[in-house]
């Protein structure tokens, strides 16, 4: 169905640059508006998936941090979810959740889980035992220790996980159109052999990943001022 639309678009191209399938700045300027809606769909899908995935896996990591025996089962289950190719996941979910944004969200969230779970846990594990002891010595309860000492110190790893999860999700969301959720992937797919279209839609996806990545990095710098003294080269 979508393929037929793509063919129609090819026939409608009569302008020289477009009929030669070149890179056409004038065509891009005329049609840039068509990319705004898919771009916003892509942005919303990514932010929602990462936010939901973060909430779930952060909670799981806090639970597993106290109950160590949960680490292996959670890692294995989220590992299998992470391994299932996204295209397959979209169609495996179709009979259960139907076509649309929900299906895409469920699949995208399932990819975020492993990345953030592992990083949060690693961050918490890397807190030196001496620091914990010092906190306990100052009379902190377990939950005060967690929120005031362990989580702030684990912030670099947590944010690193968030960055990896976000860029990965932007990439996977280009396939979300298979689940009927639109996004920039739908534009790429609609005319995959047309250079101008591919460059604009693909370029916007890369820009989105870079922009979100930079935004998280800036947030990290702002909320962990003590790490700046030893900032990366």
């Amino acid at each position: 169905m979508t393929l037929e639309v793509a063919q129609l678009q090819i026939h409608h191209r009569t302008d020289t640059c477009e009929s030669r399938n070149g890179f056409c700045p004038s065509w891009i300027a005329d049609h840039f508006g068509d990319y705004v809606h898919p771009f916003l769909q892509h942005l919303v899908l990514t932010v929602l998936a990462v936010a939901i995935g973060f909430a779930i896996s952060f909670t799981l990591a806090l639970v597993a941090h106290r109950r160590r025996w949960l680490v292996n089962p959670i890692t294995q289950v989220t590992g299998i979810l992470y391994t299932i190719p996204s295209v397959a996941a979209f169609f495996l979910l179709l009979p259960i959740t139907g076509r649309g944004t929900d299906t895409a969200l469920v699949a995208l969230v399932s990819y975020v889980l492993l990345i953030i779970f592992r990083n949060v846990l690693a961050g918490l594990d890397n807190v030196p035992e001496e620091t914990r002891d010092a906190g306990r010595g100052m009379g902190l309860t377990d939950s005060q220790l967690l929120w005031r000492v362990e989580i702030p110190l684990a912030m670099p790893e947590i944010m690193a996980g968030l960055r990896i999860a976000t860029t990965t999700t932007v990439g996977l969301a280009t396939l979300a159109f298979f689940a009927g959720a639109g996004g920039l992937g739908e534009k790429i797919f609609s005319d995959i052999a047309y250079k101008s279209n591919v460059v604009v839609a693909g370029g916007l996806a890369v820009l989105l990943a870079a922009a979100l990545d930079g935004l998280i990095l800036l947030t990290q710098r702002a909320i962990t001022p003590w790490t700046r003294a030893v900032a990366q080269p």
Binding site: I115, I164, G171, T174, F189, A210
Partner: protein
């Protein structure tokens, strides 16, 4: 159509599609059955295998060498970050739009997709070999190439295979959208749903998911098998320091 697994609903039809062929809904051709699944899986494996072989041949020696001389770390590590930001669909679309469709072009796109995790892991694996171990090897009179082959490579192998595992699963997943670039793979029933029907599409999704999980599990076993005994002994104590995934290290 014989519906043996009707109790499973749509999934039952899909499983039935995997094992029995029936006439296509557009008429004329027979679709489904193990024979056809294999006919689609073979090019899928061939494409993924060829791309992985080339990617390994490029990035393992390069990563080992960069790690050995301790240069190019910025490149070796950031290539992963850049690679992750470029969606696989966009990468394939670039190749289709600029180079055209076909097995070779698609394979090149998959090679580009597979290189970053292997390169980063080969570099990180070589770098994190204890400097004292390397000094001891040098003290025993080993030459540079001997140190790479007999000390650094064995100790870096677990991480290298970790990278190969990430890439292999990713390449198999991406080969699913190969029909967009004119190469018939297991993704054909997904892209050309008119020929195969909904049950064919779901069947292909099941087979692709199984293929990815089997690859992951098999390469995981290989990764454990190639881990030197000395590393396994200490791994219990060092495990928690091996897992952290920061921007400086590999993807999970």
């Amino acid at each position: 159509m014989t519906t043996t697994y009707a109790v499973l609903g749509e999934f039952g039809h899909a499983i039935d599609f995997i094992f029995h062929s029936h006439e296509s809904q557009i008429g004329g051709t027979q679709v489904g059955g193990l024979g056809q699944i294999w006919d689609l899986m073979w090019p899928h494996l061939k494409l993924s295998g060829a791309a992985m072989a080339i990617a390994c041949a490029i990035s393992v020696p390069l990563g080992l060498w960069l790690g050995h001389v301790g240069k190019g770390g910025f490149l070796a590590i950031n290539v992963s970050n850049v690679g992750r930001a470029v969606p696989s669909l966009a990468l394939i679309a670039f190749f289709v739009a600029y180079l055209g469709v076909g097995f070779l072009n698609l394979m090149l796109a998959l090679v580009l997709l597979a290189i970053p995790p292997i390169l980063t892991n080969a570099y990180t694996g070589t770098r994190q070999v204890d400097r004292e171990t390397v000094d001891a090897a040098r003290g025993m009179g080993m030459t540079g190439p001997q140190i790479v082959r007999r000390v650094e490579l064995p100790l870096a192998l677990p991480l290298i295979f970790g990278g190969i595992r990430i890439s292999a699963v990713n390449v198999i997943a991406t080969a699913t959208i190969a029909p967009l670039a004119g190469v018939t793979t297991l993704g054909d029933p997904i892209i050309n749903v008119n020929t195969y029907g909904d049950e064919g599409r779901l069947a292909a999704a099941i087979v692709v998911a199984l293929l990815a999980v089997v690859t992951e599990v098999t390469l995981g076993a290989v990764q454990r098998a190639v881990t030197p005994r000395g590393l396994k002994l200490t791994s219990a104590g060092r495990r928690q320091h091996r897992f952290p995934i920061t921007r400086r290290q590999a993807i999970p």
